[in-house]
């Protein structure tokens, strides 16, 4: 069987994300990284392979600018056998509708038995690409999966939905986006990191996979951002650093008392 894992390059998390204490704005210029949620999808692919299923290959797939190859190198270091980079000027500015369509076209060309994704992209926070791709590929799908067992061409998946935990049986081929509780991603070995650039990497333009130019990019997007504005100002809370714990506790207790909470 063949597994494709969708991965995305995002601005480096935690470290850079909230670096500007003055403007409290996200600094998006930070070093780019592999979307941390996608490492769970890669790990899930590796566990299927190591769990005794005959997996011929794990292919990491991304759509993004030239720099996105770095995310592919990291994906390969984490276990993917090769990678596919969909990159084309025509794609820039794609919304969810356009991105999902374009990714589905690349995947169609790969013809996988299983497509895995992360629960969300750290920068886009859309939670939707998996279900968009699945409908294009005409495959069953499920998001936020935290347990996945494969037997006889069927996945038994568990996930938390509105009313508690659901157990769902999904026939392959399928598109599954995994929640971050599904596994603890491994760290890449130094050897894997060094070898990552030597693994096959295909670069595709839209024409290579039959993507219609007028369905992607800004022109093909079905939504348009009309305006960006700051959120309503909320009075900033008081922040204290714990230097002397006895003092910190005194401050907390005083705060609670002042508000008649104790």
């Amino acid at each position: 069987m063949k597994i494709c894992v969708l991965v995305k390059e995002v601005p480096d998390a935690a470290v850079d994300k909230r670096i500007d204490p003055e403007t409290k704005r996200l600094d998006r210029s930070g070093e780019k990284n592999l979307n941390p949620f996608d490492t769970h999808a890669l790990e899930a692919a590796m566990q299927v392979k190591e769990g005794g299923t005959d997996v011929e290959e794990i292919v990491a797939v991304t759509m993004g600018p030239e720099s996105a190859v770095r995310a592919l190198h990291k994906a390969v270091a984490l276990g993917a056998d090769r990678s596919v980079h969909l990159t084309d000027d025509a794609l820039s500015g794609s919304d969810v509708c356009a991105t999902g369509y374009a990714l589905a076209k690349v995947l169609e060309a790969e013809d996988p038995d299983l497509v895995l994704l992360g629960q969300q992209s750290d920068d886009g926070e859309c939670y939707t690409i998996g279900a968009v791709v699945a409908d294009h590929l005409k495959m069953p799908s499920l998001t936020q999966v935290i347990k996945m067992d494969l037997a006889e061409g069927k996945l038994t998946c568990e996930r938390q939905a509105e009313y508690g935990y659901d157990t769902v049986e999904v026939e392959l081929p399928a598109v599954i986006s995994v929640g971050d509780a599904i596994n603890e991603p491994r760290y890449p070995s130094l050897k894997a990191i060094m070898g990552a650039k030597k693994k096959p990497l295909d670069t595709k333009a839209i024409g290579d996979v039959g993507i219609e130019g007028d369905r992607v990019g800004e022109a093909g997007s079905r939504t348009a951002v009309l305006e960006l504005k700051p959120p309503p100002q909320k009075e900033a809370g008081e922040i204290i650093e714990d230097e002397d714990t006895a003092e910190t506790v005194e401050k907390i207790v005083a705060w609670l008392e002042e508000r008649k909470l104790i």
Partner: protein
């Protein structure tokens, strides 16, 4: 007709989801402003009067597809795509939750339609709907419009309030042939409650425990602190998924919504899906060792420090006060 179509989710007992009802009321309000009507879609075994009763939230019509099962997105994509196309709906609106994301995303592909998610407000501009969507960890708000109809709007949890104004809706049964792939996922069990049945909704004081507690056993710290103040203990999805604490205590998008007098967050990052379930708490106190944790953006008192050092002493101090 050009109206607004809403999916109304229900549980196995037939109770409609509060966020779906909120979406119905919101759609009815917006439809009024647009000079059109709002309607609902229900699937599965929904009784006539239950379906018609959705009219109380302002919808005039309810499309019911009995053959499609409730609980999985793809059959509902089939149903909604057909209802939207047959009746020329201009927009479809989902309340916060999980299924709405999956159905909305499926419809995006099926109808080549624009989608917005985590929407906190919808406005009418020049006869069209514009969605307000917070982005980048809620540090900016994007006003997003649709290039063409239909447009798909997925609301954030608790963004829309349900208003009962009375009235009953006309119920129309629709027959929809499900796509082949929509029948390849099957629900085995739905809504399993993992862990003890604890009550957090009636507590005036809640101590929320997150992954920062480190391990299951450390929930004792949260329990002792809650005991000292006569409160209860709540949890994040991360720790519930890990089996550290019962699902019944989970706050957030796929858990409960609470608004206690005091919410005391221990080792909780403050992810949006958690925030939406507790942001209306009267007072929010957070202890987190990472000064960049998002929770510090919306708490009233933030303590940057190691909870393992602070919490035992805090519990002692409060006990001393309460005793004295």
């Amino acid at each position: 007709m050009a109206g607004i179509l809403v999916y109304a989710l229900h549980d196995d007992e037939g109770n409609f989801n509060k966020n779906s009802l909120g979406a119905l009321s919101e759609a009815a309000k917006l439809a009024g402003e647009l000079g059109t009507e709002a309607a609902a879609v229900v699937v599965g075994d929904v009784a006539d009067d239950a379906a018609a009763g959705l009219g109380a939230y302002g919808v005039k019509k309810v499309y019911r597809c009995k053959e499609a099962p409730e609980g999985l997105a793809q059959p509902i994509v089939d149903v909604m795509a057909k209802v939207i196309q047959d009746n020329d709906f201009s927009y479809t609106l989902f309340g916060g939750g999980l299924l709405g994301f999956e159905i909305g995303a499926g419809l995006t592909a099926r109808l080549n339609a624009g989608v917005t998610m985590e929407v906190t407000q919808v406005n009418v501009q020049d006869g069209k709907l514009v969605a307000e969507r917070p982005i980048l960890q809620d540090s900016q708000i994007a006003n997003v419009g649709y290039v063409e109809e239909p447009g798909i709007i997925i609301g954030r949890l608790n963004a829309f309030d349900a208003n009962e104004s009375g009235g009953t809706a006309e119920v129309e049964d629709v027959q929809v042939e499900l796509s082949e792939w929509s029948t390849k996922a099957k629900m085995v069990t739905r809504g399993e409650q993992r862990g003890a049945d604890v009550n957090i909704e009636d507590a005036n004081i809640l101590v929320g425990g997150g992954r920062g507690l480190g391990k299951k056993e450390n929930f004792e710290l949260a329990e002792q602190l809650a005991d000292s103040m006569g409160g209860a203990v709540a949890a994040t999805r991360a720790v519930v998924d890990a089996g550290w604490y019962p699902y019944a205590a989970q706050i957030g998008q796929t858990g409960k919504t609470v608004a206690p007098n005091l919410y005391l967050a221990l080792g909780i990052s403050g992810a949006i899906q958690h925030k939406v379930g507790m942001q209306n708490s009267e007072n929010i106190l957070a202890i987190n060792k990472d000064q960049n944790a998002p929770i510090f953006e919306f708490c009233d008192l933030g303590v940057v420090g190691d909870l393992h050092k602070i919490v035992p002493k805090l519990t002692e101090a409060i006990k001393a006060k309460q005793g004295g």
